[in-house]
């Protein structure tokens, strides 16, 4: 087994290679505005570091969010197209699950929350690092304060809102290494992973910009 994992659902552009036992190489850069530029060079770097070629990969693992849409799609489109070109399966993993897996919280329940912008968080609760209790959701921190009261929390969404998440701590962003390790574990156990379809959680803003077609520079 050789998995290439990538995630662009948080400000991190993160890539890892996993051979079923261990992470062979990984790269994580935090830059919320440059997912499109950074992802392919990161894949290239991780492969170069491990001395492997892309055609040795037996499967792609991709974080399906939830996360800000424009960045999220960079990872999903890249994963989908790798799958097509290489003829290998593409597995989805909920990005929040990757964060839960990477947390060092032994016993839950606990919360994973990422920044959903617009003063909201993407969040879910976990019984332990491998077991999600609730479906991923998007809410204002104040609106879920009662439900998460007293629970430990990880992720940038928790760190951003200390009033709601007073005991928030690292990890801040997801790592592809954690995503890959979780996927490898589940695949080895014969668990089906979800299709690589994005978890948007919000309907699209149905706003037609003034010059709604392509803006032609003069």
């Amino acid at each position: 087994m050789l998995l290439l994992a990538l995630d662009t659902a948080t400000p991190a552009v993160t890539v890892a290679l996993h051979d079923g036992e261990d992470v062979i190489a990984s790269s994580s850069q935090v830059d919320a505005r440059r997912h499109g530029e950074l992802l392919l060079p990161a894949v290239d770097r991780v492969l170069a570091e491990s001395g492997l070629r892309l055609d040795a990969v037996t499967g792609i693992v991709v974080g399906i969010g939830p996360g800000p849409y424009t960045g999220l799609r960079v990872g999903l489109m890249t994963a989908d197209t790798f799958g097509l070109a290489l003829g290998v399966p593409v597995h989805g993993v909920c990005t929040l699950d990757g964060l839960a897996y990477a947390s060092d919280i032994e016993k839950g329940p606990f919360v994973v929350a990422t920044d959903a912008r617009r003063k909201e968080v993407y969040w879910a609760t976990y019984a332990d690092s491998r077991t999600r209790l609730t479906d991923p959701a998007v809410d204002r921190p104040a609106d879920i304060a009662e439900r998460v009261a007293g629970l430990p929390a990880v992720g940038a969404g928790a760190l951003l809102y200390p009033d709601t998440f007073p005991s928030a701590h690292e990890p801040e962003h997801v790592s592809a290494a954690a995503l890959a390790a979780l996927a490898a574990e589940r695949l080895a156990a014969g668990v089906d992973l979800p299709a690589p379809r994005p978890l948007y959680l919000r309907r699209p803003d149905a706003q037609v910009p003034k010059n709604y077609k392509v803006v032609t520079p003069k």
Partner: protein, 361 residues
């Protein structure tokens, strides 16, 4: 012919997911998935809806194009993609797909300009572009007059709209007349049964001191809307066919007049017309008449090649390969306001060094 470059092109600058395959100037496949129906009820393209649709449609559309062309991905000589201009989020989906595809197949990547692609597509219809060529691009997003002496490296803007795009005016007037979206085809249809001289609508920017090659359709749009409102306010029936014909005449009169003048002023004897509005029947007829009178050869691709598609991107990509233009780097990003003068986005020399070892041989 087999030694001509085989290139796959990806276009996602607006609401069409286009994947085309060409060999040199020969069209092999032109696969399109459109999200236009999802936008209709909003009266215009919703960027987030378009981006979501591109992600869903991309892989099936690439598959369809390869089957249609009867070629194998490994035989491609390059992957081209629209790097801009266009809707930022939509462009990024196509750029991400093109980068991953080129990287996984070990092929060079060419990020190209959407407007230059609109011009270059005519090579698939009428053979090599004459140099220089004057191009009039008119659609819901573009109204530009461009002069190109080499489509891979030199496109000069002569004029552009200073407010709305021509196609946008068609959409707006169709909406005011309750004819639906998109407006172009339906206005064209009604106009055929109307009198183009019935109402004297204004011709924007045609005064002696106005910019010779720039366009303005905002005033026309307002004038037509006011005229319709006045009729309705007076309780009179709106003569839809005459309004459509007179409005359309005002648009195509200005477009063709300025394009022909630019050709004469620059001593260019070829005019190509592209973009969705090029499908307009009255524009084609009037352009033909005026070009003939001025001794200019008119080239207009078939309507399916005039609207946004992947074949036009592949056509420009193939020309980039044929002329030895440098490929883009793996850092290529989408540029929603890529200037028309940047026909492609070449990579910096230092970027490719790490890549070779990891690619398919």
């Amino acid at each position: 012919m087999a030694d001509e470059p085989l290139v796959l092109g990806i276009e996602t600058s607006c609401d069409e997911t286009g994947v085309g395959i060409v060999r040199g100037t020969t069209l092999l496949a032109d696969a399109i998935a459109s999200s236009v129906d999802e936008h209709a009820r909003f009266g215009g393209v919703v960027p987030e809806v378009a981006s979501r649709a591109h992600l869903e449609a991309m892989v099936p559309t690439i598959d369809r194009a390869l089957k249609e062309a009867g070629v194998s991905a490994r035989d491609l000589d390059g992957i081209a993609v629209t790097a801009g201009p266009g809707l930022a989020g939509a462009l990024l989906v196509g750029v991400s797909a093109a980068k991953a595809y080129a990287y996984a197949l070990g092929k060079p990547l060419y990020g190209v300009n959407h407007l230059a692609s609109h011009i270059c597509v005519d090579q698939l219809e009428h053979g090599a572009l004459p140099e220089p060529t004057m191009a009039l691009l008119v659609s819901g997003g573009h109204s530009s007059l461009l002069l190109s002496s080499d489509i891979t490296s030199d496109v000069r803007p002569m004029g552009a709209t200073i407010d709305d795009a021509a196609g946008e005016a068609f959409d707006k007037i169709a909406r005011v007349l309750n004819l639906g979206f998109p407006g172009g085809p339906v206005i064209d249809r009604y106009a055929k049964e109307g009198d183009p001289q019935a109402i004297a609508f204004p011709r924007g920017l045609t005064g002696p001191r106005d910019a010779a090659y720039d366009f303005s359709f905002s005033g026309l749009k307002t004038a037509v809307a006011r005229w319709i409102e006045a009729k309705r306010a007076a309780g009179e029936e709106v003569p839809v066919r005459d309004v459509a014909a007179s409005f359309q005449e005002a648009v195509v009169d200005v477009l063709t007049r300025k394009a022909v003048r630019a050709c004469k002023d620059e001593g260019v004897d070829h005019l190509m017309i592209g973009g969705g509005v090029a499908a307009n029947s009255r524009l084609r007829i009037l352009a033909q008449e005026r070009c003939e009178a001025a001794g200019i050869r008119l080239r207009v691709p078939r309507p399916k090649l005039c609207t946004d598609n992947g074949a036009m991107v592949a056509a420009l990509g193939a020309e980039m390969v044929a002329r030895g233009r440098s490929a883009s780097s793996w850092e290529l990003s989408a540029d929603s306001s890529l200037p028309v003068t940047e026909t492609h986005v070449p990579g910096h020399d230092h970027v490719h060094e790490v890549s070779k070892e990891n690619l398919y041989s």
